[in-house]
Every structure is written in structure tokens, then in C-alpha cells.
């Protein structure tokens, strides 16, 4: 378990005990955050878009190619955009802060 700080689409901030070994998307879904994640983590839909807190960017690492292509086409993409299904939540991400991006 590690803490995950989440800001939802209404701007409300909460902290959950995240489950490690599954994706950030699955953590959000299991904890009822509004987020479509329609393709179930297959990197096919871009409906699991989040923003990573700048302080965490280096630690989280870079986007993969497919993820990059999906993200670049979104209207509300930012340098700190990621697809949450492509990030495995690990113990050393304790305290990670993310914002759920708007629904496009």
C-alpha cells in the first residue's frame, strides 16, 4: 500500500491507500473516481487521461510510443499528461499526486 493523492474533475482532493502492482487507472476505477477507461487499459481509448504532479514527473518516467500518440491528439494535453492505465503503481510512488483530466 502507498498513498495516492487525487484531484477529481470537480477539483476535490482526496487521498487513498493505493494498491501496488496494478495500474493507477485500476486504482482510480476501484475507488470510484469518475474516469471512463473504456478500453480497460489496452492503450486504445485515451479515456483514462491524468496529469502528474510536476514534482513526480521524473520519477514516473516517460510515456510509451502508443500512449504518446494518443495523448498528443487530445485537446487538453499538457506536458505532464499521462494515460493512467500505462503507469503501474509501485511502493516508491507513495505520495504521488495526480489530477484527473477533463472528459473530452
Amino acid at each position: 500500500m502507498a498513498k495516492l493523492h487525487i484531484t477529481d474533475r470537480e477539483g476535490v482532493e482526496t487521498v487513498i491507500e493505493g494498491e501496488v502492482g496494478i495500474s493507477v487507472m485500476e486504482n482510480l476505477r476501484d475507488n470510484d473516481y469518475e474516469l471512463e477507461a473504456i478500453c480497460g487499459g489496452q492503450c486504445s481509448c485515451a479515456t483514462c487521461h491524468i496529469y502528474i504532479d510536476d514534482a513526480w514527473m521524473a520519477k514516473i518516467g516517460a510515456r510509451n510510443d502508443e500512449e504518446n500518440e494518443l495523448l498528443e491528439e487530445l485537446d487538453c494535453v499538457q506536458p505532464n499528461s499521462r494515460l493512467s492505465c500505462q503507469i503501474e503503481f509501485t511502493e516508491d510512488m507513495d505520495g504521488l499526486a495526480i489530477v484527473i483530466a477533463p472528459d473530452e
Binding site: 470510484d32 471512463e36 473504456i38 478500453c39 480497460g40 489496452q42 486504445s44 500518440e69 491528439e73
Partner: protein, 403 residues
């Protein structure tokens, strides 16, 4: 007095609907009834990552098992609903239990179309619709197994891709002249045909399967042209039928699906329907249709659940869909029709191209193969009803979004 909302069918739409009802603040009684033994789960991985043994079963669950009691949702697995009495506002289960509702959502999905042929009930002949089907098929799919797949649609081909990778000998028998003919243009069918053949899959088109033979379990598949294929395992994927019986017997309007309006409401004010089982209008497409996709199940379930909570937001989305085979990410947006002009951009030989479908110049659909940017751009352009110049569209150097 607390109200009772019942959701029949614990699939993708049913699972999404109960989540939306609770997140909307509905605090009455929610009963979710499904005839399978699992909580609602995602079906797409059943013919992909789960079949390949790359994804654990629990990770396909839309919500964990513990979530339902936490949200005070009465989840009833292994329960078949057999009767709907609209006058009394009750449903009955196969075990004879009668439950009353204030509002009802039918999310009964589809079932596989069974092949009517001699020997179709032999052992080792499977259909793929549910998690238990996948697990049963997977157990039989050991290296060296002769797998015959009846039906060259996307599910059949996804199974073929997994099976050949696992070291099985794979033959696909398709009745029509080309694979995936229902959803893609001839150019795209030809491409997929080649990719599978290169991977070692034998594809036979124009094959009418006439029967199955064997001693207890299947050993051979016979066809109308007298050809015979050795088989240890047969997977049949020849389409699905909407589960409308409950609705029909309850005297709701049914016409290739449960007839609903743009809010998911049926011909009864207290009953909604969502997902694969509905025949619904789509303002963007300008017609009614029945769809088999997760996007539709999720979006329509949200619409119906919102409407059950009194919030009317019409459902209208350009349909989209995906299929993973080998290293190929196929993403489909919109609905193509036989007369559409097909424009190919990119290079099939590099396994990276798109087929764009134009109807009187209007961009109506796309099959994007490893062309993620095209898929994303197409979602917007198709919804806008963009007119494309075919020559310009064929130039993959120009980004689709800049057209």
C-alpha cells in the same frame, strides 16, 4: 419511502449502470442480477490477454467483489431472471423468487448464435462469450493442438492470433468471401488475411461448415465442398443475438433489440434498457441501430442511469471499437457501408495504415491500423461530419486533424 431499482444483467452495461446510480446519489435499494458467477467484468480481454494467460481474471472485473456490499448494492450472481410482470412491477427468477421494482433496467446483452449442424454438441466445441468459456478454451489450447475456428470475424481472428502464438495448429473457416467483412473494407480484409497467413494460420474463405464428427469429442470438421479438417478443439464465432425474450414476453416494444429512446427508456415509463440488447436512436448517425461495443454499453448505461435519477441527457456518440491481433492495434470509428468510397493512407506493408470511408465526400468511418493519431483525429472529424478531399486524405504526410 425508499425506492428499489433493479438491474437485470450483470455485464458491462449493468456494472456501469449501478456505479453511475450510486455516484449520482441514488440511495435507495439497488439489486443487480446476473446469471453468471462473476461480478461484472470486461469481455474484450476474453479473446485477447485473458485467453493468452497474460491477464488475471480478477483484473477484468469492473469493480472488486467487495465494492458491491460496500456500496450497499445487492448483487445476485447465478440468478436467471425469467419473467417480467409490468402491471405488478415485478420480476421473477428461475428459482421462483419474485422481486418488486420501482424502476427497472434491462442490460441483458447478447448470446452467441449457435451453429445448427450435426455433431455441434460434441465435446471440445466451444463458443466464446463469457469468462468461463475463455477458461475452458484456454485449458485445451496446448501446443500442437489442432484448433479449427469457425467464423473469421474479429473474435475468431483474435482467438486465431492467440492460438498460433501458443503453438497450436490453426485453421479459420469463414463462410463469406473475406474475413471481417462485416466491419472492414476489402483492402483491410486482405491485409489481415496476409498477416494471419504469415503467422502460420490457414484461412479458408467461402467455406460452409456442414458438421462435426468424432467419438464423443470432436475430431473432424466437414464442409459443403467435401473438405475435412482435423480438429482437437473447435471455437465457433458466428455472431450474436440480442437477449430480448424477457422484454418481449413483458410486452415491451422489441425490434432487433429492445426499442429505447435517446434516454434509454423503453415503451414503459418505469423501464430502461442499455447496451448490446438495445435498438436505439443516434442523432449523429441519423438512424436507429443496435451495437455490440463497450463504448456503447458504457455510454448508454450512463445515460439510462442518469435518466432513472431524473437527469435527461440524450445519448448520441459516434460508435467506436478496437481489436488487437498480434502487434496490430485496429481502431474503428463510425459505421461504414458497402457503397462507401475507401481511401487508404499509410503503408499496409509497414503494418501502419488507415482505411477512410467517405460517403458522398463526407468522412463517416475509419479503420486505423497502428495509426493511433488517425483514430483520435477521426473521432472528432466524423462527429463533425467533415467533408474530405480523397486525394489529400490519402496523403499520410498530412495529419488527419489538419484536413
Amino acid at each position: 419511502m425508499t425506492q428499489t431499482f433493479i438491474v437485470v444483467g450483470a455485464g458491462h452495461a449493468g456494472g456501469q449502470a449501478v456505479a453511475t446510480l450510486r455516484s449520482k446519489g441514488f440511495d435507495g435499494r439497488i439489486i443487480l442480477i446476473g446469471d453468471e458467477r462473476y461480478v461484472p467484468y470486461e469481455r474484450p480481454p476474453l479473446s485477447k490477454a485473458v485467453l493468452a494467460g497474460e491477464l488475471e481474471v480478477e483484473r477484468t472485473f469492473l469493480k472488486k467483489e467487495t465494492w458491491y456490499p460496500e456500496k450497499n448494492i445487492e448483487f445476485r450472481p447465478n440468478t436467471l431472471v425469467t419473467k417480467l410482470d409490468r402491471k405488478a412491477r415485478t420480476i421473477s427468477t428461475a428459482s421462483g423468487e419474485v422481486l418488486g421494482y420501482d424502476k427497472l433496467l434491462l442490460a441483458t446483452g447478447t448470446r452467441v448464435r449457435k451453429l445448427q449442424a450435426p455433431g455441434a454438441d460434441l465435446d471440445n466445441i466451444f463458443y466464446l462469450r463469457a469468462l468461463d468459456d475463455t477458461l475452458a478454451i484456454q485449458r485445451k489450447m496446448t501446443p500442437g493442438t489442432n484448433v479449427v475456428i469457425v467464423g473469421g470475424g474479429y473474435i475468431g481472428l483474435e482467438v486465431a492470433a492467440v492460438a498460433v502464438k501458443m503453438g497450436c495448429t490453426v485453421t479459420v473457416l469463414e463462410g463469406l468471401e473475406r474475413v471481417m467483412s462485416r466491419v472492414v473494407a476489402p483492402e483491410v480484409s486482405a491485409f489481415y488475411h496476409h498477416v494471419h497467413t504469415d503467422a502460420g494460420v490457414v484461412i479458408k474463405t467461402g467455406m460452409a461448415v456442414t458438421g462435426f464428427e468424432g467419438d464423443g469429442k470432436v475430431e473432424r470438421v466437414t464442409c459443403a465442398d467435401d473438405s475435412v479438417f482435423a480438429a482437437d478443439l473447435v471455437v465457433i464465432g458466428v455472431g450474436v443475438l440480442p437477449n430480448v425474450e424477457l422484454a418481449a414476453e413483458g410486452d415491451l416494444a422489441v425490434d432487433n433489440g429492445i426499442v429505447v429512446d435517446e434516454y434509454g427508456q423503453t415503451s414503459d415509463d418505469n423501464i430502461w434498457a442499455a447496451g448490446d440488447c438495445t435498438n436505439h436512436p443516434n442523432a449523429l448517425l441519423g438512424r436507429r441501430l443496435r451495437l455490440e461495443s463497450v463504448q456503447n454499453a458504457v455510454d448508454q448505461a450512463k445515460t439510462a442511469a442518469n435518466a432513472m435519477c431524473g437527469e435527461l441527457k440524450p445519448y448520441s456518440e459516434i460508435p467506436w471499437f478496437w481489436s488487437d491481433q498480434y502487434d496490430l492495434k485496429l481502431q474503428i470509428v463510425g459505421l461504414s457501408e458497402p457503397g462507401d468510397e475507401v481511401v487508404i493512407r499509410g503503408n499496409p506493408a509497414e503494418r501502419k495504415f488507415s482505411a477512410l470511408y467517405l460517403r458522398h465526400g463526407k468522412f463517416v468511418a475509419i479503420n486505423a491500423i497502428n495509426m493511433i493519431k488517425d483514430f483520435m483525429a477521426a473521432k472528432k472529424l466524423i462527429a463533425e461530419g467533415k467533408i474530405l478531399d480523397p486525394d489529400k486524405a490519402a496523403d499520410a504526410e498530412i495529419a488527419l486533424k489538419d484536413m
